[in-house]
């Protein structure tokens, strides 16, 4: 057996910096690697193949690939349970000093995992076994689910809020190139040379792509060795101001109109010390590209055989990548198992690097050409027309059984176990078409590749190089170059053919290949464990069961077996799954079809997707000019109204919220109350047809409203339901000042613009919002006219002459103001409008009047809660509280505001057979027989005191409810079935766990009701 204690690091070579060693730990073991290592390469260098346990059977999982396509090598990163990163792929995580990695989904430890019991009993856990039992009782799902849930899942989520920050930014590109391999670099260079704005995104930490998996000297590009050639290209791109070159950046999503999401890992590869505090952890680049070049390369496909999931069984290409990019030998005694030439290079390079190659097993029966000579020269045994049919080794492969196959693919020779610590296998290369398919291009099945390649494009995109099924280096470079030239030309830059670098190489290309959906096995079928999806433990047997159970669609089979549903999304598994299904159903692969390639290309951090719009920046807090004053009041509590924050009540020392509201409400009717009403929506309406317009959008008539006067109006939507309300003032014959609810302002404006621009373009009216131009101080209370006259420069507010629903201009210390005699409290009140920049000054000035010695005004600031209470005492509705989109003006008892003739928005709906019924829910007042009892808003109204068994018929519900300090009793408004005809009736307010409360139906104007003596 080979000795793994000695490092498997080659003496030289690899694109790592051997001068900088990096210390990290895996599962408590202190290990070291070099700058440029991924966690995977560093672990392999330390002889650690097994890094995880599989999802279902908890079987040992090793490193299979060298990139983001690795299926099961995922671990938990971070020592701090508050900030840990679950499910991190070892092949992508670069190491840094102090990196802590732990195995996940295993207990008590990676090497000894109780979960392996699932494996022992795996016979009883076929695909979808859980659908077939625990339907309860006796085995009920609710009892069993917790157990399943514990067993399922992989990593553990952090326990604390994320301390890192994320950015997102926008870019417009003429040409976006995805993939920094030879083809992608050529495309970027060509497009940039043409003058186009180019973005080049490369998933890994370096440009070069597959070239980095080749020994430096083995290829010459434009006369240079690989690394020099790449450096020169990189330099020329970097110095071009029109090029954005992004490494460690994955194109994760190809969306509509060439919008591509890029995910840059800015500092995940750095130790805490090395991270720049101002830089985000990760950044999303939102790229809108005129043209896209897809140079995403190809993915190698494993061979499906019994026991193919043991650690130490890897993709041949990956083994070469580890050797040449990271200077790591993946094993000392290797077997290479292939169906095409490219994998032979792995055998040769391993041999040349000092490993023992115990044999090349190739499914193809008749081999020829220089590969044979090359193998012979190295004395490597060749097993043609043969296959590995079984393997051994619990935590690392230790041996393989090699058999010859006859022309029908059946086993034709006796057992032949060969020891090994590595099996490098390859079933050929498949174009990486994920993004192409995301862009909604159509795939074409290529019989020579036995894989899908880009077919018909839907968006402005081109695939080049291996991503396009072009595996020859030179042809790929030329393809990339041409794509760059044409893409740039397509965006309006001069087309210059230019020249491409000539590549000299003797790479072993995948030539003809021989796919066998599943390698035969000497075992009874029941015992065969040939894995297709290594993360979710999907075997060929599972897929057989699914098909046998009649799940004939590939989409059904995916969902029944969960193949391709893991964190790798089956990058290397899916094609094998499709091929195996095709084989089982005697269909061609295209007949079977593919599952959908969805975004993201690989899992993307949610925090990164949220970007900067989190925490304090999540949503704007809109505030008024007076806000600083409000904030200065100790006991202030705010109420969000849309994006606005409005004072809800000003609690004084030792006061409860309720007490504050009672005090404020009383003050507003006895002393002087003042409310910041600045947030009310305001719209300037002007034009010769303004009246006509108002007539059409309000339910009442506006033809006669004289300048200097105001009127209240109701707006409906076409469905006839109340949508908004407010007071509108006539400034001049063709000029009006409209107010709307705070929450409704934006809707109303677009509602109005919509009608003006699309329904009634003939109307000569213009609308402009002025909401934030003016601050509004609403002053109310008996005798507040004195305050007003005090406040304004020689202004006579006498209610007798300055009448309710009038407005006038005035000045305060010379600053112009407009005063409206309008009121939603029923009290004498004045609304002072002033340019917002003077809002805080005015507010302070008013309160100064309450400070002065002697004859100070008794002014009480009040909030929205008191405002709601006061208007309720008068029975004024609040749209959105007493209405919920289901109430007509008639329901609200506001027939008086619905004009008899002429059309208006929503009019026709009012007369629909059901909308005009008399037994609709109608707004009424409720007076609890016990005046001290305040109803909970939302309380349901029922007919009888004792609640019969459910369902209890409900007559309506309480929309607003308060204790009125001014009436000394509880008051409530409610929408009640045929309410208007129930005046005086007693109904009941249902209460949870308590006797229903008797309430009397009264009018909504409680102050009036009091004068009339009904309450």
């Amino acid at each position: 057996m080979v000795d793994l204690s000695k490092s498997l690091r080659t003496v030289s070579g690899g694109r790592i910096d051997r001068s900088i060693s990096v210390e990290f730990s895996f599962d408590g073991k202190k290990l070291s690697g070099f700058e440029g290592d991924t966690l995977a390469s560093a672990l392999l260098a330390n002889g650690q193949h097994m890094v995880a346990r599989s999802f279902k059977y908890h079987r040992p999982r090793g490193i299979v690939a060298a990139g983001s396509e690795d299926p099961a090598g995922i671990v938990q990163i971070g020592h701090d349970a508050l900030q840990t990163d679950p499910n991190t792929r070892v092949t992508e995580q670069e190491i840094y000093n102090g990196l802590v990695a732990k195995a996940q989904n295993c207990w008590p430890s990676l090497s000894l995992d109780i979960g392996i019991l699932n494996d022992t009993f795996s016979d009883f856990f076929p695909a979808g076994f859980y659908y077939k039992t625990f339907m309860g009782p006796p085995l009920s799902w609710m009892n069993f689910e917790p157990i399943i849930r514990k067993a399922a899942g992989l990593g553990i989520a952090p326990k604390g809020a994320d301390k890192d920050r994320y950015d997102s930014t926008n870019r417009h590109a003429d040409v976006l190139v995805i993939g920094g391999g030879p083809s992608g670099m050529a495309a970027a260079k060509a497009a940039a040379d043409a003058g186009a704005r180019v973005v080049l995104a490369e998933e890994t930490n370096q440009l070069g792509g597959a070239l980095l998996s080749e020994p430096d000297g083995s290829i010459s590009i434009g006369g240079n060795k690989i690394d020099t050639a790449i450096d020169q290209l990189r330099a020329s791109l970097e110095e071009n101001p029109n090029v954005i070159l992004l490494t460690r950046t994955t194109a994760f999503g190809y969306y509509g109109d060439n919008f591509v999401g890029l995910w840059e890992k800015v500092s995940d590869h750095l130790s805490a010390e090395d991270r720049q505090p101002l830089q985000p952890r990760q950044r999303i680049w939102r790229v809108r590209a005129k043209q896209v070049v897809l140079a995403t390369g190809s993915l190698e496909r494993p061979i499906v055989f019994d026991g193919n999931d043991r650690p130490g069984i890897m993709l041949a290409g990956a083994v070469r990548t580890y050797l040449h990019r990271y200077g790591v030998l993946c094993g000392r005694r290797a077997l290479v198992f292939a169906n095409n030439d490219s994998a032979w290079a792995t055998a040769f390079d391993l041999h040349d690097a000092g490993a023992e190659v115990a044999g090349i097993i190739d499914l193809r029966r008749d081999l020829s050409g220089h590969v044979l000579e090359n193998a012979a020269r190295r004395g490597i045994t060749i097993y043609a027309g043969s296959a590995i049919v079984a393997t051994e080794g619990s935590k690392r492969v230790t041996a393989a059984d090699i058999r010859r196959l006859d022309e029908h693919g059946n086993i034709a020779s006796a057992t032949n176990w060969i020891t090994c610590d590595l099996i490098a296998n390859s079933a050929g290369w498949a174009p990486n078409v994920a993004l192409f398919s995301q862009s909604r291009g159509k795939l074409r099945y290529d019989d020579s590749l036995q894989a899908f390649r880009p077919g018909k494009s839907w968006q402005n995109e081109r695939s080049v190089g291996a991503a396009n099924g072009t595996f020859d280096l030179q042809v790929g470079i030329d393809e990339g170059h041409l794509a760059g030239v044409e893409a740039a030309a397509a965006t309006g830059f001069k087309k210059r053919a230019g020249k491409t670098a000539k590549a000299k190489h003797n790479m072993l290309m995948q030539t003809d290949l021989k796919i066998i959906a599943q390698i035969p096995s000497p075992k009874t079928p029941k015992k065969v464990r040939a894995f297709i999806d290594l993360q979710d433990d999907v075997t060929t047997k599972d897929i057989k069961v699914a098909i046998q159970e009649g799940l004939s669609s590939v989409e059904h089979i995916k969902r029944y077996t969960t193949t391709g549903m893991g964190t790798d999304q089956g990058k290397i598994a899916n094609l094998n799954a499709f091929a195996f299904i095709a084989d089982q159903m005697d269909k061609s692969v295209p007949e079977v079809g593919v599952t959908t390639f969805r975004q993201p290309y690989k899992p993307v951090t949610m925090g990164a997707l949220a970007g900067q719009h989190v925490g304090e920046h999540f949503m704007p807090r809109r505030t008024t000019a007076m806000h600083p004053w409000h904030m200065a009041q100790k006991g202030v509590i705010f109420e969000p109204v849309g994006d606005w924050l409005r004072p809800r009540a000003f609690l004084q020392k030792g006061e409860s919220f309720e007490q504050a509201v009672q005090r404020e409400s009383k003050a507003a009717r006895t002393g002087i109350g003042i409310l910041d009403a600045s947030t009310l929506g305001k719209i300037d309406v002007r034009g010769p047809d303004a009246r006509k317009f108002l007539n059409r959008i309000y339910t009442n008539a506006w033809s006669k409203l004289a300048p200097g006067k105001c009127r209240y109006g109701l707006m409906l939507n076409e469905d006839g339901m109340v949508m908004d309300d407010g007071v509108t003032a006539c400034i001049a014959d063709d000029h009006f000042h409209m107010t709307t609810t705070t929450g409704g302002a934006a809707n109303v404006l677009s509602h109005l613009e919509d009608y003006l621009q699309t329904e009634w373009p003939e109307l000569k009216v213009y609308l402009t919002t002025t909401t934030e131009q003016t601050s509004v101080a609403s002053i109310c209370g008996p005798g507040c006219d004195k305050l007003v006259s005090e406040l304004l420069d020689n202004f006579d507010p006498d209610p007798a002459t300055f009448k309710f629903m009038d407005w006038r201009d005035g000045r305060i210390d010379g600053i112009p103001v407009r005063v409206y005699r309008i009121s939603f409290t029923g009290e004498l009140s004045y609304e002072i409008n002033i340019d917002a920049s003077y809002g805080l000054w005015l507010w302070k000035k008013i309160f100064a009047l309450s400070q002065r010695e002697g004859g100070a005004f008794d002014i009480t600031p009040y909030g929205t809660e008191t405002m709601h209470l006061l208007r309720a005492e008068k029975g004024f509705v609040i749209v959105g509280q007493d209405t919920d989109g289901t109430a007509t003006p008639i329901d609200l008892g506001m027939n008086w505001i619905v004009k008899k003739d002429g059309d208006f928005v929503g009019r026709r709906s009012l007369t629909r057979s059901d909308t005009s019924r008399q037994d609709r829910k109608q707004l009424v007042g409720l007076a609890t027989l016990d005046p001290g009892k305040v109803l909970m808003e939302g309380t349901q109204i029922i007919a009888t005191e004792d609640e019969t068994s459910t369902p209890v018929p409900m007559l309506g519900h309480v929309t607003s409810s308060y204790f009125s300090p001014n009436l000394g009793r509880s008051i409530a408004m409610a929408l009640v079935e045929s309410g208007h005809t129930r005046m005086g009736q007693t109904l009941y307010a249902s209460r949870k766990g308590d006797k229903a409360l008797a309430v009397k139906i009264v009018g909504v104007d409680f102050i009036q009701e009091r004068t009339d003596g009904t309450i």
Binding site: A152, G155, Q548, G550, H556, T567, V614, T950, H957
Partner: protein, 417 residues
Amino acid sequence: MSSKYNLFSLIREGVRGHTGWQSQWREPDLKSSYDAVIIGGGGHGLATAYYLAKEHGMTNIAVIEKGWIGGGNSGRNTTIVRSNYLYDASAAIYNHALRLWTNLGRELNYNIMMSHRGVLNLAHDEGEARTLKRRVEANRLNGVDSEWLDAKQVKNFCPPISIDENMRYPVIGATLQRSGGVNRHDAVVWGLARAADSMGVDIIQQCEVTGINTSNGEIVSIETTKGSIKTPKVASVAAGHSTVIADMVDIRLPIESHPLQALVSEPLKPLIPCVIMSNAVHVYVSQSDKGELVIGAGIDPYVSYTQRGSFDIIEHQMASLMELFPIFSRLRMMRQWGGIVDVSPDASPIISKTKVKGFYMNAGWGTGGWKATPGSGHAFADLVANDTPNEIAAPFALERFVTGNLVAEHGAAAVAH
């Protein structure tokens, strides 16, 4: 006819290598005529077929599915099940569904993983609290399980949630329906198909309805990509494609088809115990038994049949999620997708006869119809069999858009899904 599922059959098959499982449903050829044809092999269509066969003895019927059964919204929804709706009519049908859900697994002999883990609807300000409390009260009187929790109780019920009072949208309370929860959408579809098939219902996949023939206002036959079928009754349950079907008989519907997206995180060990929904912050999230966080995103504002949505909707969704669950920030989105939801003006479904005799419509479930699947199928089957709506279906007739008797669930109490 497929064998019974239970622990013993599992063990038996385990021993003999699972060679004995039979097909869960047949792949029958299209007959030339059926007593009724159901268009749409989603949960609702299959449930309709199942109950038509089981409760109305109509077994000579077919379910026609243009793709693979469950490939529509049934296959792409976040499976939230609850019945705490505001209005009586809604409470009636959704609660009816909830009762059926509870026992459906056993009834179908198929574990649909119905998990009554509880659904929270969060309130972030007084206005929301008011409308949610109103709902709780209405639910109570309608016999729908529903209760009000304050912020602390919310935190106890769902520990990972943030109830930080300094958030822009602090959690001030929530309604809880303990009997609400999630289930396994594919299993529901397959279980219904298997049960319906075993009673003789033909389930025809990869077969698209291309036309509907009527003569003097009555259904006579339909055209499909696999041939035409004589039938007196056609029941359309095509969700996002409802108007496309209705168009075949010149009926206009009050429906628009919008993209609605959802996404899943990578699988994690148990993290959140229940379903959390918030309107103001627009979040709905639960964790599947496999371990992914299943997260619903917002609806796109435009009509589209592409089963795709906009990226910025996903970004907003994530920002919202981070507001409520700051600890999710380092987790990763594994896959996102979209469906085509059939949105009706009052956010309530249409279960209705039409002006064409023998043509029945089940549509308009929009973003929230999964929870109704058995109830919808049950009520619709009744309508199709008896040609008159039962009291559960009656309020959802098309006429309401003419007479104005809407079931305005989108009103103040609007909570999608």
